[in-house]
Amino acid sequence: MRITRTVAGRSRRVAVLATTGLTASALLLTGCSSDDSDSNESSDANGKITLTVADFGQFGYKEAGLFAKYHELHPNITVKEDTTADEKVYYPKLLQQLNSGSGLADVQGLEVGRIKELVDTKADQFADLSKVIDVNEFVSWKEKQATTADGKVIGAGTDIGPMSLCYNTELFKKAGLPTDRKEVAAKISGGWEDYLKLGEEYKKKAPAGTYFMDSASAMFNAVVSSNAKQYYDESGKAIYKDSPSVQQGWNLAAEAADKKLTQGLAQFSDPWKAALRKSTMATVVCPAWMAGQISVNAGDANKGKWDITTAPGTSAANWGGSFLGVPKAGKNVDEATKLVKWLTAPEQQAAVFKAIGSFPSNKGAYELPDVKTAKLPYFNDAPIGQLYADEAKSIPETILGPKDASIKDTISTQINNMEQRGTKPDDAWEAATKAIDKVIG
């Protein structure tokens, strides 16, 4: 292969060099800038605006038709929703986007287990909503969770999760237990110890292949949630090792695992969903949004077999709930805050409650008929509106910590090991503390 060197040959070589150089630099450039493309399209020459809402799990806006309604009210605004199923996938992505300042949606959903960390470290990247929403409209503790030390509010409350107990009346009947809401409530009014006693009673005559509860970590979570002090103290120190609520919850979970009162399923996993379909568990600890999960996964075949009563004990608890925040990096911060204000107003929260059962954090919604007189047909017409509104008023103001969500998940894993593998409580606790120390870092 001989190369004849002509002038044309040389210029071709120059061209080749130039192209490779250009390609290389193009590669370098696109590596840094590919993220911006989305936000540039958000507003065009006709003043039409597309707002994006990034959230996780089930916020219920689509189900309640709220984005379509907003478009009707504001014809120049279209709202697009970008939902990540799992919040544990969503949150690291959000942090990365906040770090790089690109790829963020106009409105971002923020979970209660993360809100403290965001308030502590990322508050300056969110628009201040304290002038936009009226914080007093919300249940007293809700907006405090999203407020910084200098009074900035980074998130508007969406839902809260007042706790109740869902139970399968058919299984209760077969096991010779009462099925009436008031009678069941009376049996467990003494607290979670009573709940386990009821479990033992159930187990004596339980239909084969059924369990009293789905997951001991759900019960653990419920126990911890009903206390003001959970994993951190007021000064921001992690105290989970000595926290009375954590200890109480852990011991109860260990007892439930030991007495085989639990099926040991990880909530929201496929086996858990299958167990609901097959009706193998008699009770599920029920934050407001859980009712929706049960009716969807247990399916029409089990309609009318479930009922809802108050959670064990007398102290109310909150499990979960979220916020909507507006990142400053967005192109349409003004329009986005307006959308957030509208979505978290009483009427819209009531609409979400009606659609998927997420309970409003805006107190104004409790007086609306959609909430006040709400009954769930799937659950023998349980008067959930009344039940949850009563409870929401007495939920304690809890002390949040930056790593609440990760600590909770870590403990759940170890409780699951006690349930499924028969790991000894002491070994499981040691593994949990080791893992949590790593979480806190």
């Binding site: 070589r13 590669l27 942090l95 960390e117 470290t121 894993t413 090991n417 080791k434």
Partner: protein, 332 residues
């Protein structure tokens, strides 16, 4: 081809003293200098794109990762870096989970590489015979390689599911079938190895096949004249001729199993996948790194894990090299 590299003489300036005007000579000299410069510089220009891209996406991240590994950096505030020296390395080396991940990575690596390469060798040998529709078989054998990790892992997750999984359903006909594959320490490693074997056997088969076809046929002829059986031919002719190829596939598989990530992450998915099972029973080093950096948000230790992985790879490479040298020496 190898001998046809152009030589400079062809373009050397004409000898001095020939009938040329001075200007012409000067142009000739200028031209020859240009040629020489071109000769020296253009090879660098040709390979420059690779090094530019490698520098930007390979070397820079590598060094920056090392820099991060010496700092305390949180996902929640990446611009605040606090110098901590070797603390992050200290932290991971004293973390029992790290050593679990090392042994898991090693075990899954062996459990997937050894059967995979043996099966690939056998398949390549079969494909090397005169077969009807041989191209078809060769294509078929490569198809798993063309699937994405994610889809393969998700499909196998269904196969290995404890509750209503395909494998358990098949096993219940012989009275077994209540194995919770992902939950067990050995069963979960087997499950992941199966995914890896399924995806990579075809790839290695083709590499072996190509190497086998390069073995001169007169070697086999001579062997058969000496009365060697098929099996003896395979052992005494094929395998020794394939030695460099086998070494190559071992190196590639070792690197691959060191980076094993998608399969363990997706076998159960969710939180369990990110910690490699609820007792870290199938957590590999990559998953450990991912969990430390992305779920726990501590980027310092995560970067330290990345460098520890590099160190492990270098150690493995050194051992590999030593063994190779020993084998070569003893072969002589």
């Amino acid at each position: 081809m190898a001998t046809s590299t152009p030589t400079r003489d062809a373009y050397a300036p004409p000898p001095r003293g020939s009938q040329h005007k001075p200007a012409d000579t000067r142009r000739q000299m200028w031209r020859s200098r240009l040629w020489r410069f071109d000769d020296k510089a253009s090879p660098f220009a040709y390979i420059a794109p690779f090094f530019l891209v490698f520098g930007a996406f390979g070397l820079y991240p590598l060094i920056y990762t090392g820099w991060i590994a010496l700092h305390r950096v949180e996902m929640t505030g990446m611009n605040q870096m606090e110098w901590v020296g070797w603390e992050n390395f200290d932290k991971i080396l004293h973390d029992s989970e790290f050593w679990t991940a090392v042994s898991n990575t090693f075990l899954i690596g062996v459990m997937s590489t050894v059967p995979q390469l043996l099966v690939a060798l056998g398949l390549a040998h079969l494909l090397n015979y005169k077969l009807r529709a041989s191209t078809f078989w060769r294509t078929v054998i490569l198809t798993p390689y063309a699937t994405s990790v994610a889809s393969a892992a998700l499909v196998f997750a269904l196969v290995f599911r404890a509750d209503g999984g395909l494998l358990n359903w098949a096993l219940h006909f012989v009275g077994l079938g209540d194995t919770n594959w992902a939950n067990g320490h050995w069963t979960s490693k087997i499950a992941i190895s199966v995914i890896v074997i399924w995806r990579w056997t075809g790839y290695n088969t083709l590499i072996y096949l190509a190497a086998m076809q390069a073995v001169p046929s007169d070697l086999y002829e001579a062997a058969s004249l000496d009365g060697a059986s098929r099996w003896q031919q395979f052992r005494k002719v094929t395998i020794p001729s394939l030695r460099p190829t086998i070494l190559f596939t071992i190196v590639i598989s070792t690197i691959g199993s060191m980076q094993l990530f998608g399969e363990p992450l997706l076998l159960e998915g969710g939180t369990l996948g990110a910690t490699g099972g609820n007792e870290n029973q199938y957590e590999t080093l990559s998953v450990y790194l991912y969990n430390y950096g992305w779920n726990l948000g501590h980027l310092g230790p995560a970067a330290a894990v990345a460098w520890a992985m590099l160190a492990l790879l270098l150690i493995i490479a050194a051992v590999n090299w030593l063994i190779g040298r020993f084998v070569r020496k003893s072969a002589v």
